[in-house]
């Protein structure tokens, strides 16, 4: 997707001045840890391709191996520059691992990287996604009805049953989204391996939509669950 730059971006090693590629961690000449400058991304940092299926075991092993290379514990006797480089590289490694080990965070990160992130993330999450309009409308009506029921002093188990009725379809819908996302991740990686940029693009687009809906559904579910636990408290 990105134009192939023939020249690899480099940065000077602060110790020996060698022009080192930005995506290596240690200077090829003097072997000192390199300052974290402009470089690729979390995937490159871990030596991974931009694929969505990541073997947890493999990622963890890479994380541990890199930790053993960068950790500030091992730079205690080094120069100030190297200590700072070790701190920055370790922080970046930890942030990257936190993002890549979680499938959803990983997907969100890749979408952002590929320019698919919604511009106004906050506004987008408060807007009802088009695919969910009908469902949300029905749910709101049902929640209102349940509120009325409660206000009229209906028995608690009756209220709970109604809330359960509202909860189950959301959970099912959420499960469907998870399945679809998982399938699209497989497709994405296949397109990536085939070098099919357009096909990859299309799956990313589809995943962005699903992800937005998923976020919205998760929030809805939280609302219903809050109602339910509120009911519990009122009962006791």
């Amino acid at each position: 997707m990105q134009p192939d730059t023939s020249a690899i971006p480099v940065q000077p090693c602060k110790n020996c001045g060698t022009q080192a590629p930005v995506d290596v961690h240690f200077c090829p000449r003097c072997d000192r840890i390199l300052t974290l400058g402009r470089h690729g991304d979390y995937f490159t940092f871990f030596g991974l391709h931009r694929r969505l299926q990541v073997e947890p075991r493999d990622l963890e092993q890479r994380f541990r191996a890199l930790s053993r290379q960068f950790h500030p514990d091992y730079f205690h006797n080094s120069s100030g520059t190297e200590r700072l480089a070790s701190l920055e590289r370790s922080s970046y490694l930890n942030d990257a691992f936190r993002t890549l080990r979680d499938p959803v965070a990983r997907l969100e990160y890749l979408l952002k990287l590929e320019g698919f992130a919604p511009k106004e993330a906050r506004a987008a999450s408060s807007q009802v996604p088009a695919g969910l309009l009908e469902e949300v409308f029905e749910l709101n009506e049902e929640l209102e009805a349940i509120q009325d029921l409660k206000a009229e002093g209906a028995p608690a188990d009756q209220v709970a049953a109604r809330l359960d009725g509202a909860r189950i379809p959301i959970e099912e819908n959420l499960a469907t989204h998870e399945r679809q996302l998982a399938a699209l991740m497989v497709t994405h990686d296949a397109r990536f391996n085939e070098g099919d940029a357009a096909g990859r693009h299309a799956t990313l687009e589809a995943m962005r939509t699903l992800l937005l809906e998923r976020t919205y559904l998760t929030n809805l579910l939280a609302t219903v669950r809050r109602e339910m636990s509120g009911g519990e408290a009122a009962r006791s």
Partner: protein, 622 residues
């Protein structure tokens, strides 16, 4: 090369340990004592006592003696007013500022008091290295442990204490993680490990994954105000009420009660009943004895033990694990000797906990191992710890915007963009908070930062990136620059519950003025320490619930009388400053109890062989 030691700066006791070539050991003082009571006392002549001598002074000069100062580290007066009532010393401070402890004429901050303890440990280690014939016995640096759930202010206060004691603090590590490192030395403990650490004043639970020598903390939780002190206070309050004691008026007497209560607490870990036995001491209206069974004791402390379980569940949830997925549970901290604590932990995790290593020493040993890693650069082992609390900043409407989430592996970083609200604004105020609550007011304020030197621009145009960096110690630093101009911003830090660098420098100078070595005084103290050790051993034997039975079977009345007389004589000598008399008395008591000690040992062995009192034997076997 000067030495780097590991220090467990505990609420009740502190220890120093050293590891070279992978074999760590706790360093004992001249009388063989490995624990240093975390108690500091200053007499009217301004002499400073640390450890057991200070502990003795609790009974005679309580108002000039401070213990459990760790509970005050990095905290404000508003946090401690409730419990301060039960302490003999006075505390003061402004809301949102550092607590001051009053010891006679002097007012000291908790880091200064902790520094006395650290300095004593430094001295202890140096004299040990000297005795070992080391060419460079100087201890210039240390790894110091803190509760995992300590916040930024509490960690910073600990680091300040180290500086004040003349120690370079190479690293602050978390106590449960240190313990896990000590357990991990023998490689048997791999997999998912839960470390339950209930000490004198703090409680931590950490869940770790140990694999290929990497000790990765998955989650941590706890309560920095929950421990053995709280258990003691429950009993002290009951007895103070029985006796009509007011902590403000009867400081010494309250300490006598506290001492007796602690003894009974220890006894109840071994036997199913004990006596809380108060001698007649000045300030006590009468002598007092209260019989207490283990069941009664457990009923009293159940709410305290229960408070440790919720953090355990939360830690498991944050680690994404169920209790049954934990491969091993490790117990740390003196309060885990209480059978009820062991039982509750076993129930929660569905397996008996490991107690192979001494729960008082395991943290110091882990700290020494970490010190060795830092100095040697050896890479077989690596600790990856987490920050216990989320870090955020206050935004519009008093809401917290989280920047680094709790249980993030450290070092960790985060950044946030700021801009100006009015034209040509050159400074922005930032309020930094730690905690999980939504509203700023419900979280811990770490400090207020002022960003200055913003280039004058129309409102909303500056793009100031503020970078938050939590280092491997769990301590925060902040930097900022304006992206359009690239100008680095000056940041003024006003720590909420901490000392400024200038204050630490000033205290450092003052501490040199007060420092003086009193050789004869120290030798007297050592003699008293030794006397106390022998007395404690004798008392323990005499206090056994089955002592009457043993004495009838194996001892003559004459012998028992001789032991009691020697103990009484030594106790009297200890009240004087006559070192020779104390040493003679110690030797005499040692001689008088030689046969008694053998009898006790044989009796216990016989009981074990006969399967009698299995509970008692099991408790000792740990």
């Amino acid at each position: 090369m000067s030495k780097v030691v590991g220090i467990d700066l505990g609420t009740t006791n502190s220890l120093v340990a050293f590891a070279s070539v992978g074999t760590p050991q706790v360093i004992a003082d001249e009388s063989g004592d490995r624990l240093l009571p975390s108690i500091v006392s200053i007499d009217a002549a301004q002499t400073i006592y640390v450890g057991r001598e200070a502990q003795r002074r609790l009974l005679t000069d309580a108002v000039r003696t401070v213990y459990s100062v760790k509970r005050f580290m990095g905290r404000g007066i508003e946090d401690v007013t409730d419990e301060a009532r039960w302490f003999p010393f006075k505390v003061s401070g402004e809301t949102g500022g550092v607590v001051h402890v009053h010891l006679g004429e002097r007012e000291l901050t908790p880091p200064e008091i902790s520094a006395f303890i650290l300095r004593e440990l430094k001295r202890r280690a140096e004299s040990w290295f000297m005795k070992e014939g080391d060419f460079d016995p100087e201890v210039a640096a240390a790894v110091i442990t803190v509760p995992a759930y300590f916040n930024d202010a509490q960690r910073t206060a600990t680091r300040d204490a180290g500086r004040l004691a003349g120690l370079e603090v190479l690293r602050i590590i978390n106590e449960p993680t240190a313990a896990c490192l000590a357990y991990g030395l023998d490689k048997r403990h791999e997999g998912t490990i839960a470390v339950y650490d209930l000490g004198g004043g703090t409680f931590d639970i950490s869940i770790l994954k140990v694999e290929d020598g990497v000790f990765q903390v998955l989650s941590t939780n706890g309560d920095t105000h929950l421990g053995g002190d709280d258990i003691d206070r429950v009993l002290v309050e009951i007895i103070a009420h029985d006796l009509g004691l007011d902590p403000a008026a009867h400081a010494d007497a309250i300490q006598a009660v506290r001492k007796a209560v602690i003894q009974a607490k220890w006894d109840l870990s071994e036997f199913d009943q004990a006596d809380i036995d108060l001698p007649v001491v000045p300030g006590l209206p009468m002598s007092y004895r209260k019989h207490i069974t283990r069941a009664e004791f457990e009923a009293l402390i159940a709410p305290i033990v229960a408070r440790t379980l919720e953090p355990c569940r939360r830690a498991l949830e944050d680690a994404g694990l169920t209790a049954s997925q934990v491969d091993a549970v490790v117990l740390v901290g003196g309060s885990t000797r209480i059978p009820m604590v062991r039982r509750e932990v076993a129930t929660l995790f569905g397996r008996p906990p490991y107690t192979d290593l001494n729960p008082d020493e395991v943290v110091a040993i882990g700290a020494a191992v970490q010190a060795d890693i830092l100095v040697s650069g050896r890479r077989e082992m690596l600790l990856l710890d987490v920050t216990p609390l989320s870090l955020g900043i206050e935004t519009m409407g008093g809401i917290v915007s989280k920047i680094i989430l709790r249980n993030s592996t450290v070092p960790a970083s985060g950044s946030e963009m700021f801009t100006s609200f009015v034209d040509s604004q050159t400074a922005v105020d930032i309020h930094i908070l730690q905690g999980e609550r939504e509203m700023a007011a419900d979280n811990r304020s770490l400090g207020r930062f002022k960003l200055r030197g913003i280039p004058p621009m129309p409102a909303g145009l500056p793009r100031i990136q503020v970078r938050f960096q939590i280092d491997a110690n769990g301590i925060l630093s902040v930097s900022a620059h304006e992206l359009r101009t690239g100008i680095e911003q000056a940041i003024e830090v006003k720590p909420s519950y901490g000392l400024t660098d200038e204050e630490v420098e000033r205290m450092l100078l003052e501490s040199f003025e007060h420092a003086r070595e009193d050789v004869e005084g120290r030798m007297l103290i050592e003699a008293r320490n030794e006397a106390e050790t022998v007395l404690a051993g004798t008392d323990k034997a005499l206090r056994r619930p089955d002592f009457g039975e043993i004495a009838a079977a194996k001892l003559t009345p004459d012998e028992v009388a001789r032991v009691r007389a020697a103990a009484a004589a030594l106790r009297e000598a200890m009240g004087t400053a006559d070192r020779a008399a104390i040493q003679d008395g110690t030797a005499a008591l040692n001689h008088a109890t030689k046969h008694l000690a053998e009898v006790m040992m044989n009796w216990t062995v016989q009981a074990a062989l006969a399967g009698r009192s299995a509970d008692d034997v099991a408790a000792k076997g740990r």
